[in-house]
């Protein structure tokens, strides 16, 4: 049978974000996948070089609407390490609370979307209703539902009052009950088992070879979590476990995410109950000394890394954002081979793709039409050779 190219996107009912898939199919089976990810490219890294540290945090939050706290925390941690300032314990705990609430809302959101993609809209409605409890807590603490803007260099922006802590604690038991129900549903609900089991399987070796991170890697049995391996914030204090699963398919990724919500609930409860007293921020100097740092953070989708290079001014010379979705895309292209066309949405959704983080631009040489990668120093050299007066 001849191979057919099925083009999906950038505007498509099944897609929530602009992306273009070219799926080469032989009958119902997928042979190959080609991707175009650059519809969302905004040039955030370039913009970050032009703003000082105070103004760059709100910008980096808007890299992604779902994991906004991740980006600003990763950046703030890196700059604080370069400046050699230690944030107060209370600020560490507040950052952890917001980070785990963000993970909960992201995973509940994902569970709903995955259920919607297999036509199980009841679960979609349920998880999104329960997600509103998390959103309310975040809104009470920070004043906004999505972009919280809690971080500042040297601490957090606003303190938690005892009333806010009590209100947050009062919402937890109901949420725990609901999440336990979802754990049962994921394990025993026939609809989900039929559509998730054995779909998009990725063995441990493959997961390592394609460099997967986060729940995708943990579902293939790789015990890798930045929160445990390289503890930051208050993760070393709180009691929690890394969740892994050996299934390696969409079913395994669903189980990992649902159990991670339970672990997040434990961390949030611990941090709220043991919130230290004291200041919420320390004064930070205006300029950062010259230095380079790689700041790692476990975002809801996996390990997020910010490479930051400073040059002694109040701006960064370069910030490079390596998002978890970018690391996981290769594994999607491999998972899709030999699967059914009908399983595309759920396999793609299984890595919880976030395209606004991931959009990159490709350099194409005008004469040779050759696309490729060049180093940052090479880019600077080319720019300076073309604009000698602007050095």
């Amino acid at each position: 049978m001849p191979e057919v190219v099925v083009s999906i996107g950038p505007h498509h009912p099944a897609l929530k974000e602009p992306v273009n898939f070219k799926i080469i199919a032989d009958g119902e089976k997928i042979v190959r996948l080609e991707l175009d990810l650059s519809y969302n490219h905004r040039g955030v890294e370039k913009a970050a070089e032009q703003r000082d540290f105070i103004r760059v945090l709100p910008l980096l939050e808007r890299v992604c609407g779902i994991c906004s706290h991740s980006h600003s925390t990763a950046f703030a941690q890196g700059i604080e390490e370069i400046m050699q300032i230690e944030i107060p314990p209370r600020a560490r705990y507040i950052r952890t609370i917001i980070a785990e609430l963000e993970r909960m809302h992201s995973h509940l959101l994902w569970l709903g979307v995955a259920a919607h993609l297999i036509g199980f809209n009841t679960l979609f409605m349920w998880t999104w209703r329960d997600r509103e409890a998390v959103q309310d807590t975040v809104e009470e603490m920070s004043g906004n539902r999505v972009h919280y803007n809690m971080n500042e260099i040297g601490g957090v922006r606003c303190d938690l009052t005892p009333a806010q802590v009590n209100a947050a604690l009062a919402r937890l038991p109901n949420l725990e009950e609901r999440v336990n129900k979802y754990v049962d549903m994921v394990n025993y609900e026939e609809t989900m088992l039929l559509r998730f089991r054995g779909v998009g399987r990725l063995s441990k070796e493959e997961a390592l070879r394609y460099g997967t991170v986060g729940p995708t890697a943990r579902a293939s049995g790789i015990d890798y979590d930045t929160r445990k391996d390289d503890p930051y914030l208050a993760y070393a204090d709180a009691p929690w476990n890394v969740v892994t699963d050996t299934n390696g398919d969409v079913y395994g990724r669903t189980r990992v995410r649902v159990w991670e919500i339970q672990e997040s609930l434990r961390i949030v409860r611990y941090c709220l109950e043991n919130l230290p007293e004291g200041a919420i921020r320390v004064p930070a100097p205006k300029n950062a000394p010259k230095g380079e740092i790689l700041s790692r953070y476990e975002a809801p989708r996996g390990e997020l890394a910010h490479f930051i290079r400073t040059n002694g001014t109040d701006r960064v010379e370069r910030v490079d954002i390596r998002t978890p979705t970018l690391a996981n895309w290769t594994s999607v292209a491999m998972c899709l081979v030999n699967q059914n066309l009908a399983d595309i949405p759920v396999i793609v959704a299984a890595i919880d793709p976030c395209l606004s983080c991931t959009s990159r631009i490709t350099l194409v040489e005008n004469q040779t039409k050759k696309a490729g990668v060049i180093s940052f120093d090479e880019l600077i050299r080319r720019y300076r050779s073309r604009n000698p007066e602007e050095v």
């Binding site: 974000e17 519809y39 905004r42 906004s68 999104w128 509103e132 539902r145 999505v146 972009h147 606004s356």
Partner: protein, 176 residues
């Protein structure tokens, strides 16, 4: 004035259109925050279906286009094409600070800065991102605009109008 058959059917269509607007969402390069707030609108808590609002995948079925976010250069031609596919009368809502001016991304190298450089906008929603209640309010405002236009026989009357003051704006927002 006697009601003609054509007039009656047109009035019926206008009535039906304002009772059940169909919406399509176009992500023109947003950061997802506006998109998840739109999905939150569909959920049991905010539940826009009580206003008859349905979200549809195809622009050919839609009355209202919600554009989330600033427009990246690559998405501009796609946005224009999606808008051209919508049948008349069509309305456009630009979401958030990015839709109005580009927000924090204003002036970057891969940006069109605001949606109205690509397609005409009827309603702007403020916020980064707007709360679901504000999105619902924008759609309801858009419906009032739709009824107003139906009374005036099209949207042409708005183009000739002088800029409205704030009090006038308030009064034309509540026409049943």
């Amino acid at each position: 004035m006697a009601v003609t058959a054509a007039g009656l059917s047109q009035r019926l269509v206008n009535w039906a259109r304002a009772r059940s607007p169909w919406i399509t969402v176009f992500n023109s390069g947003a950061c997802n925050a506006c998109d998840i707030e739109i999905i939150a609108c569909l959920m049991p808590r905010f539940d826009v279906e009580r206003f008859g609002i349905l979200v549809k995948g195809s622009p050919r079925h839609a009355d209202i286009l919600i554009v989330t976010g600033h427009v990246t250069l690559k998405q501009a031609s796609r946005l224009r094409r999606v808008w051209e596919q919508m049948p008349e009368p069509k309305y456009v809502i630009a979401m958030g600070a990015c839709g109005a001016s580009g927000g924090v991304f204003h002036g970057l190298y891969h940006m069109m800065d605001s949606v109205d450089k690509v397609i005409p906008i009827d309603v702007y929603v403020a916020g980064c991102p707007p709360r679901p209640d504000e999105i619902i309010n924008a759609v309801v405002t858009c419906l009032n605009l739709l009824r107003e236009d139906a009374l005036h026989g099209g949207r042409e009357w708005r183009k000739k109008a002088v800029p409205v003051t704030r009090t006038e704006e308030k009064t034309c927002g509540v026409i049943p």
